[in-house]
């Protein structure tokens, strides 16, 4: 049963994970803008603090102090609810992700993970699918054309790519024999990273991940040139910031999910973390977040490199390319397991 130690450990983990996500959000916002400046041969924000590092804080302050405009034509209850519905799942998803090797404190083992649900993978998928409501309701309740189009696009896009994502994950679950991310990471440690075994699944997952987080080349829900700002056109001030933070939080969780599924989680190649004791734990946490940051950087690079897909191209890619490839992957994995078993 739970005692004070466990309770305290859980509380500390919850606060720590929340803090880590916030720090990563801030870091990726400034990184995005600086990298964009670098890639487009311009300076980017460099006025606030050393090299512009405090720019996100200035932005946050600005969001808080600006007037919160609620247009007349909105459906008030849902308009106010939508940012909250988007933000809560975005921050909850990280709970099942193991971000380090188990820590030993005073003879007790603390798993570096907020909740080890026995259905961890499904938990992430379920929460992602709930997050759609925020975007759809934001689009509808704003009571104007652009947000509505953005909301409709997002619901179709997210449902379509959830399928491809799920199929990519099924292959991993088949070889790992478990639905918890802890088991999947442990399986990769015992053998090798899933990326080497199922590169096709990793590719499908990567593409679906960009679509699920509404990032370029699949950011059709926002598509500035066509839809002004998409679902959040009518939002301002703090409510806009909630959408903004949810987007980055989703990117972080998606990257962490990718790392856990295909890149060994907190595993460091050729190093036995268990032999190093708690030093190994610290190294494993660092390794995990280094990988996550790597994927966040890839997000930024892709955003400023690839042009946006057209909507029919997006749907064609999802249903006619990724879905059959995902089924093929599951089939091949099944065949391989049947042959080797």
């Amino acid at each position: 049963m739970m005692d004070t130690f466990d309770l305290l450990a859980i509380l500390i983990k919850v606060v720590a994970v929340f803090a880590i996500i916030l720090v990563l959000i801030i870091a990726s916002i400034i990184a995005e803008r600086r990298v964009a400046g670098f890639m487009q041969y311009r300076l980017g924000p460099n006025r606030v603090g050393p090299l512009g590092f405090f720019q996100p804080f200035a932005d946050a302050l600005k969001f808080l102090l600006k007037e919160d405009i609620i247009p007349d034509q909105v459906n008030r209850p849902l308009y106010l609810l939508a940012p909250v519905i988007t933000m809560i799942p975005a921050f909850m998803t990280f709970a099942v992700i193991p971000f380090g090797a188990p820590l030993e404190i005073a003879g007790r083992t603390v798993a570096l993970q907020v909740a080890d649900l026995n259905i961890g993978v499904l938990y992430i998928l379920a929460l992602t699918s709930v997050g759609v409501y925020g975007l759809v309701l934001a689009g509808w309740s704003s009571g104007s054309k652009y947000p509505l189009l953005g909301g409709l696009r997002s619901s179709a896009q997210l449902i379509s790519y959830e399928l491809a994502m799920g199929l990519a994950i099924i292959g991993i679950i088949m070889i790992s024999g478990g639905l918890t991310l802890t088991e999947i990471v442990a399986h990769q440690q015992a053998t090798s990273w899933n990326f080497w075994k199922q590169p096709l699944a990793a590719l499908i997952f990567l593409v679906a991940m960009y679509a699920e987080t509404n990032r370029l080349p699949f950011d059709l829900t926002e598509a500035e040139q066509e839809l002004v700002g998409g679902y959040h056109t009518e939002y301002s001030s703090f409510k806009f910031m909630m959408f903004f933070m949810s987007e980055y939080s989703n990117m972080i969780t998606a990257s962490a999910f990718m790392v856990c599924l295909f890149f060994g989680g907190w595993d460091i190649p050729f190093v036995d973390e268990a032999a190093l004791g708690n030093l190994g734990v610290i190294l494993s946490v660092l390794a995990f977040f280094a990988k996550v940051v790597g994927f966040l950087f890839l997000y930024i690079l892709v955003r400023w490199t690839l042009p946006r897909f057209r909507y029919d191209q997006l749907m064609r890619l999802g249903w006619k390319v990724l879905l059959p490839l995902g089924l093929l992957n599951v089939f091949v994995v099944g065949l391989w397991m049947a042959v080797t078993a």
Partner: protein, 167 residues
């Protein structure tokens, strides 16, 4: 603790259900139904049937209700205007429906209680995790499972055929 939580979720489910039925704005009804499904999932979690609970969120709250919302939004269904008085025939019809509902409800409650009282206590804990559900689906219930998936495929093909006939 568990029973207190159960009553909280039960009140939420019933409240959300009433909200769905009594509301005149279809979009609010959809949102209320999603909330009801969430609380239903929470009740499954209380029963330690995590898999069933998460499927409730993933399939009903996450996928099916998004489509509901999608359709309601696309058709732009206007809130139903309150009607001045019910037509005489309508009132009898409502009463009949209410009677049927109460009858079905009582039968379900009675049957559920009977099954609860007669089934062995140890078995209940095992149901609801992925392995046991999967095993039951692919051994004991394989035929109904395959028939259901065939039915869904037929429905899917039929829908595409009907919708795309003019193209």
């Amino acid at each position: 603790m568990t029973s207190i939580l159960f009553y909280i979720f039960a009140v939420f489910v019933l409240g959300a259900g009433l909200f769905v039925v009594l509301n005149r704005n279809p979009i609010y009804s959809v949102v209320g139904l999603v909330f009801a499904f969430m609380n239903l999932a929470a009740m499954y979690f209380l029963l330690e049937a995590y898999f069933i609970g998460i499927l409730q969120v993933l399939i009903y709250a996450g996928a099916i209700m998004v489509l509901f919302l999608f359709v309601v939004m696309l058709l732009n269904v206007q809130p139903d205007k309150p009607r001045p008085g019910l037509v005489h025939l309508d009132r009898w019809w409502y009463a009949l429906m209410a009677l049927v509902f109460v009858g079905v409800f009582l039968v379900l409650v009675g049957e559920g209680t009977r099954m609860l009282l007669t089934s062995p206590a140890g078995e209940a804990i095992q149901t609801g995790n992925v392995a046991s559900v999967g095993e039951a689906l692919f051994t004991q219930y394989l035929l109904p499972f395959e028939i259901a998936s065939l039915l869904l495929t037929v429905a899917l093909v039929g829908t595409v055929f009907l919708a795309k006939r003019k193209v």
